[in-house]
Symmetry: D2
Subunit: 309 residues, 4 copies
């Protein structure tokens, strides 16, 4: 059976000025001809039926169903192992994701290398006035303070690193000397995580609210992921409320229902089904439309040809 | 400061015929005058601002914001400890929730008591023809098979239990003798879980798709919870897509947008804000309405009186 | 690079009368020529040094060091996926191991098969009089009660299963009908776990204090494991206090020291090093021997030939 | 019932030059008269027997038994919540302990305060020549390089912080400006963890191999802990192989057995029981002594007065 790693074109993506995220391994690594690693999701989900995976199309239907209904345990059957290099201020956000395994380079044991993240001119962002914890557009590159900052970030890192080296040469323990290094120094680690927890990570970090410096890594992982589990990624992007879907709160549902109600009496607009072949997905939309007050002619669920699911 | 456990009226709720769920302890147990345990969520969330909790109303706004945006780590600061008694076939579903701590009675060490769940007449449900894994309405109570089943469930449990007792008296190891006990025998355990994971549990188990025999326990926990963290529970019920909120998939958003578009040209219906005082929540709704294709006059976000947030 | 699964002779082991544990997948699946999956432990541990795996012998030394000193995070880099079939009373113990992923057949969705664990004559154990939660030797096979029990376990299971089938035919929901099934009915599931958590599982379940019916599964896993990560398993068996090692409590250390002290004055016995080439392991033993009050001539740690580590 | 927090003398301990660890809350918070929070361990462990806690002495015996035999789930019933302030290079080690909940101050949202860890003269340690990842004795305080380092650590932190402030005043987003801050800047967070996981944390961090700057925090937690669960802490210190106990590997057991064997023939030394009233603990020691080849007269386990357990 083919080795998945042989079939993907891109295993490593550069991030920021000196970082990267590299796919090292995946489980399942070896998959049946004509299938992707998605098949392991179906294999686990179908332990119930005792019949394993079926056609690619049926497998796809089941995976989309699982994703739509938050049946996430079969996603845990897929594992990814990455080698990642990133600045420490990014790594500290990363480490909040506890349901994963990490082996990071030890600055007690090793001398850290002279690798720092240096933003290029144009990379510095303005503090957002609306969102207290976000950036908002680039700092004007031609401003004096911008070029001063860009330059001083480099100078200070060099100064700090020289002092780090001096201390180590003077015999100070590595575990202490590192305290003078700034947060933009690069670190690296192996990172293993299953697909369920990786989707959770991506929902938070491949999102417009995430800090850009972590988002580039999350976006890179998404690119790697699409090669391995294309069906699961597509479903996740269709159904997750932090991707293409939206979540209406109870209050918003009420407001929208009131709004729609006003039109219904004097118009006869066409209501289109969701753009999906899947009968179950269509039925779910009719249920929600009804919650939203859309008065539809009752769909003929059982036609004479019996074409419904 | 007052002990929360003294202030709640209901600590234990009976479930099924012989089971119960009982609140044994909670953290925080002792809260400032005029506050509920919700305050510990805010205390943790505001470690960022260095100013702890504020007025009940400001605390409420923050908690609702956290719930709306899936910022769930502060919810982990609240812990609940329950004593639960339930049949084993329910307990096996329960045990799927791994992010919790359990100490269950050991049938290797102890002799299990003669306590079985016996459904009453009318409790038996029909197998749903649509949903392969659900029940669907009661079995006709007056049918011969219904009364036969109700009676035989009791008789078989008694027969099995008598044999269990016989084996134990004959010196068979308890750990083996238990194998003949049916799944409706009761077990009991202590269960500790934090609020974030408990909400996840409730989303799945206090839901219409959950098996009714586990749902009665989840519903009971929700009743206990409302006494302890009323603000968090209210927010969760407003915002969780398995409670009052709904999640529209990317495909559904497209369909709804097309539908609404057709009305906009010839009607001038009133668009009402969400029924909330919270400016941030209102702004979020305008963003989603715009995604749904609702053409609104741009709201004057910054009025002359500066009344906006 | 070779596929590990092609090189192992045994992938599935039968357990009890109708159960089994089958290795479905492993990560890493593909390893460098001449190596075992152990190499992925070293690869992660050596991210610190930036030089990956070395010779098999150096890798072995590092793995043994990690195991001896509870540096367990690199062990998390190895994943195993099993397909397991076992009786429910065993599965309930199994499910206590939370740091793993499980997809079990659903008795809400599927009709369980007529597969029960039936102990053979001689399998029934006496309740231990010393250990309240253990068995202790076989029940006399020729006794009347033994043959009665063996037979009635079968008869009752058949009776219960017939009633289960009757209820399902009468239209009772599967999720309810299952409540009459006894705990010796078989279930099956996919189980994924990393090596660190698997060793923890094995310490508890491949142990003489574990119930025999779960121990046969743990022992089977150990057989499968030795084919995949032989170096890690050997180290674990040498160093884990629930395998070949023993843990002396503070009180026991005091007692042993007193005991040894009495001999030291009038005897000149030979103190042998541990049977290991590893200098670090030898030095650790000298440290412990000194704690035990064994007065040794100070070992010449730095000989003129500088042969020490 | 008394509030535990009222009865303890020390809730907060200063660590390093500007840090601290403060006990904010504990579960159970309210305990029966005459008991400590240890009682909640016993309450959970005894769900098996249905009789809850007994005398303090019986409770103590059970807790010691649980700790000796790694029956750790009842320890999960105790929760601690701390407020901690520490330098980031320490916090990064801390964050490796995943089985806990953390809410840390956000440097995306807030401007970090001008608080840095500055080692005093004499705090700098030499790099160990033996242990690659440890320090080894103080750097000579009177050396030129020592005073230079101590002073430059302060100067560089001030320089870096001034630049951080400059960037913030220039409108650079806080989430980016922080990248120039060195790893000795203080952060703070709420930390919630159960007793089982806290003991695991302490085994690694209140150990002589831990970096001193994290060890002072772990030692402080141990001081706080002894006030709350004195019985569990005492047992843990007696039995954990990273505290008072020692673990002998299989190889070491063989060596020790050989050593002891040589004396046995010509000496008649007294073998003393462990210094414990507990019969079970004594029996366990006899078992281990026998493994170590100590030939003892078989102890009369059941005396005529039946005084044994």
């Amino acid at each position: 059976m083919p080795d998945i790693m042989d079939s993907i074109s891109q295993k490593s993506i550069n991030c920021l000025d000196k970082g990267h995220v590299t796919l090292v391994d995946v489980m399942p690594r070896v998959v049946p001809e004509g299938k992707t690693a998605d098949y392991a999701i179906v294999q686990a989900a179908r332990v119930s039926y005792g019949d394993g995976t079926k056609t690619v199309n049926e497998d796809r239907g089941l995976i989309r169903y699982l994703l739509r209904h938050s049946h996430t345990t079969p996603l845990e059957m897929i594992e990814f192992k990455f080698h990642v290099k990133m600045p420490i201020f990014v790594c500290r956000q990363w480490a909040r994701h506890r349901m994963s395994s990490t082996n990071e380079i030890s600055a007690r044991y090793s001398i850290l290398k002279d690798d720092f993240y240096f933003p290029a001119s144009g990379d510095l962002r303005k503090q957002s006035s609306i969102n207290k914890q976000g950036g908002d557009g680039s700092i004007d590159e031609s401003s004096a303070s911008s070029s001063y900052c860009i330059k001083k970030i480099v100078d200070d890192a060099n100064n700090n690193y020289n002092f780090y080296e001096y201390m180590i040469k003077s015999g100070v323990a590595r575990e202490q000397a590192r305290m003078v290094l700034p947060l933009n120094i690069y670190t690296e680690f192996y990172w293993k995580i299953d697909l369920h927890n990786l989707f959770h990570f991506l929902a938070l970090r491949a999102d417009s609210h995430a800090q850009k410096e972590i988002r580039v890594y999350a976006d890179a992982i998404l690119v790697l992921l699409r090669q391995i589990v294309p069906i699961a990624v597509e479903a996740w992007e269709d159904y997750h409320h932090m991707r293409g879907a939206i979540k209406l709160t109870r209050l918003e549902v009420e407001s929208l229902r009131d709004y729609i109600q006003q039109f219904q009496s004097f118009a006869n607009a066409e209501f289109k089904q969701v753009n999906s072949e899947n009968k179950r997905e269509q039925a779910e939309w009719l249920d929600k439309a009804s919650i939203l007050g859309i008065n539809l002619p009752l769909p003929t669920q059982q036609g004479p040809e019996g074409q419904s699911s």
